[in-house]
């Protein structure tokens, strides 16, 4: 991994809002040509970090080198080599897809062919439609197209698939993987573990303004040291049950009234759990077992789920 060429180096980035520190000295590197995921619950500081990297917020401390340029000193050069899709953007609703692409392309010295960009982003039918009339997925593809008009090396996508239906999400995944194939470096944020798993070469997990893990998806799961998870609920409000004492359990998590036991030995843990339940006359419901996922890594590390509610 170290042999890979570094394209972004983030050095001790800090951002405070009043007396609240949203980003607390984050450091990481992104390699050329990879898809890098920033993962974290709401308010973790993902957007703040990303927007500092693209020059939309001024860091209070630290800096980053993006594409060889310092974001605090050579922002204009940085902007020429990056493309940005923000979490919440609206565009001139009364312009058409084609018009707004030409408009944004005119802001840069270099640009790609707009017709083929429209083709690639699957917007050919909507070429002459007003932005107002686009669907959520189409708007999102347009936002990404706008990030690509000047043929940037590095593309920042802030929650590109949030709010989209499963089919639209898959379409976007294909587009992102296509971009990766073209040799672009992509930094994206997401709440979806499956998405991170499919798209990202490496994942940085953020929580409360801090980077708490950074690795490949499979390595992160492996580090959990438990390959299975057992999920269940007690039918009645359960009180002092020592779930840690169940055999084979490496870690216990819970989310509201759902308990998750992580284990290396599924069979042992299951029999032990059922024994304990009948001993204490507790009724188990919604019992299920599955292999551990990134979601579990997250729950394990932060005690919180990625998406709330």
């Amino acid at each position: 991994m170290d042999s890979q060429e570094e394209i972004i180096r983030v050095i001790n980035l800090v951002k405070t809002y009043g007396d609240f520190t949203a980003v607390k000295g984050v450091e990481f590197q992104v390699h050329k040509g990879e898809v890098f995921g920033l993962l974290g619950p709401n308010g973790a500081g993902k957007t703040t970090t990303l927007e500092m990297l693209v020059g939309l917020r001024k860091p209070d401390q630290g800096t980053a080198i993006v594409g060889g340029f310092d974001i605090t000193k050579e922002l204009k050069k940085v902007k020429e080599v990056i493309g940005v899709q923000l979490q919440s953007t609206s565009l001139f609703e009364l312009l058409t897809v084609e018009e707004i692409l030409h408009l944004y392309a005119s802001f840069y010295p270099k640009q790609v062919s707009i017709p083929s960009l429209i083709e690639e982003m699957l917007l050919a039918e909507k070429r002459k439609s007003r932005i107002k009339s686009l669907s959520g997925g189409q708007k999102q593809r347009l936002a990404i197209a706008l990030a690509l008009v000047h043929d940037p090396w590095i593309i920042f996508l802030d929650e590109p698939t949030t709010g989209l239906d499963p089919q639209a999400r898959r379409t976007l995944w294909d587009i992102i993987l296509q971009l990766k194939k073209q040799g672009k470096t992509i930094v994206l944020t997401t709440h979806y573990m499956d998405e991170a798993h499919v798209l990202c070469d490496r994942i940085a997990i953020m929580n409360q303004g801090e980077l708490i893990a950074l690795d490949t998806p499979s390595q992160l799961v492996k580090n959990l040291q438990s390959d299975s998870a057992v999920e269940f609920r007690f039918q009645n409000e359960s009180s002092e049950v020592e779930l840690h004492e169940i055999e084979g359990v490496t870690k216990v998590g819970n989310q509201k009234d759902v308990f998750v036991l992580y284990t290396d030995d599924l069979q042992l843990t299951l029999t032990s759990l059922i024994h304990m339940a009948s001993d204490k006359q507790l009724k188990l419901t919604d019992l299920q077992t599955r292999t551990a996922t990134l979601e579990d890594v997250f729950l394990h590390m932060t005690g919180r789920r990625l998406r709330e509610g």
Partner: protein, 366 residues
């Protein structure tokens, strides 16, 4: 440069596709013009200031003057020279000018030669018929009184009425330049403030800030697009005024267009300041309204500035709208040249420069 053209073009497209805004920004001034123009016709507020040029300086002329001063309906202003007084009359600073020629006193003390009464020249402004009628009536009564006093009911003195202005101006001629000024103010000040604040709120400006676009290019394109749009709107209003009411542009189009451009720029700059100050798009409209509403009534859009109360005059004299409406009016009605409107140009220019300097400090992308 490409960015500048693309942005200008996009802004014009947005204007043209926003049918409703386009319609109402034009409909309102046209509606006002037709309604006010048809109903108010020639009317004007009445305040009579009469200038008296006493070339005689005799006992009799002093006596005449005292009678005038004693009359409550008139404000009397003593003028030294006849020419100056007539100029003031043309500018509407005076409504009537009475000249007491040399020999007035002497001729009154002489016994009346047969039946020929003395002719007292009274000048009035034909553009202000309503005011003038009242004024002449008042003076006539006085003159009558004097002559009756002098010799038993034999008119000794008779007014010799002389019209001064030859242009036949009506209220509509006053109104249309005012409406053009009003349109320039509201479309630019209120329009820019509202639009920029809304774009900022919706993150449109922020997204553009993420590109290599420069703020100056963005602002230059805004200005160009608004110049084109408002220039066309002003032309439409002038065109309708010409077709329905026969209003003409007597001065040069160059002067007229120069002032339209100056006005657009000055009010846009103020609009940018408001957009910078306003925290939300919802607050931009009331702030702009707070500024534009008094300007509409004080700034000589619908009513002549001199009809405003004395204590407001110093404030009115610095309002940009006052100078814009005055300059447009002078150009259209009287045919004043650009050079003769130097003060107006300077004050508007001052607003423009000052406002742009402030705007560049208060402007925020987000």
């Amino acid at each position: 440069m490409r960015a500048y053209w693309q942005l200008t073009l996009s802004q014009l497209r947005i204007f043209l596709r926003n049918r409703q805004v386009l319609f109402w920004t034009l409909a309102f001034p046209l509606f006002l013009m037709v309604i006010l123009g048809s109903f108010l016709g020639n009317g004007n507020g009445i305040s009579l200031t009469i200038g008296v040029v006493d070339q005689d300086q005799s006992f009799q002329s002093k006596e005449f003057l005292t009678t005038l001063i004693e009359n409550k309906a008139l404000t009397v202003q003593i003028e030294k020279s006849e020419n100056k007084a007539l100029n003031k009359l043309k500018k509407d600073d005076l409504q009537l000018v009475v000249v007491i020629p040399k020999g007035y006193g002497a001729s009154l003390s002489r016994p009346p030669a047969k039946n020929a009464p003395y002719l007292l020249p009274v000048y009035f402004n034909e553009t202000n018929i309503a005011v003038t009628q009242v004024g002449l009536q008042v003076v006539n009564n006085l003159v009558d009184g004097i002559s009756k006093e002098k010799l038993d009911y034999h008119p000794v003195v008779v007014m010799d009425m002389k019209g001064v202005e030859t242009l036949n101006l009506k209220y509509i001629d006053f109104l249309i330049p005012g409406i053009v000024a009003m349109m320039i103010m509201s479309n630019n000040m209120n329009g820019v403030a509202g639009q920029i604040a809304a774009w900022r709120e919706r993150g449109i400006l922020r997204r553009m800030q993420g590109t290599t676009l420069k703020a100056s290019t963005f602002i230059a394109a805004q200005i160009t697009a608004r110049l084109v749009l408002n220039g066309m709107q002003a032309l439409i209003v002038l065109g309708v005024g010409h077709l329905i009411f026969g209003v003409e542009v007597r001065g040069s189009w160059f002067t007229l267009i120069s002032f339209v451009i100056l006005g657009i720029l000055a009010f846009m700059a103020i609009g940018f300041i408001i957009a910078g100050i306003a925290k939300t798009p919802e607050s931009a409209a009331p702030i702009a309204g707070f500024l534009s509403f008094p300007m509409l009534f004080l700034g000589g859009v619908f009513f002549p500035i001199k009809n405003m109360p004395e204590f407001l005059q110093p404030i009115i004299q610095i309002l940009p709208i006052a100078h814009l409406s005055h300059a447009l009016r002078e150009t259209m009605n009287v045919g004043a040249s650009f050079m003769s409107l130097g003060t107006e140009a300077l004050i508007l220019g001052g607003w423009l420069v000052g406002a742009f300097i402030i705007a560049s400090f208060t402007f925020k992308w987000e």
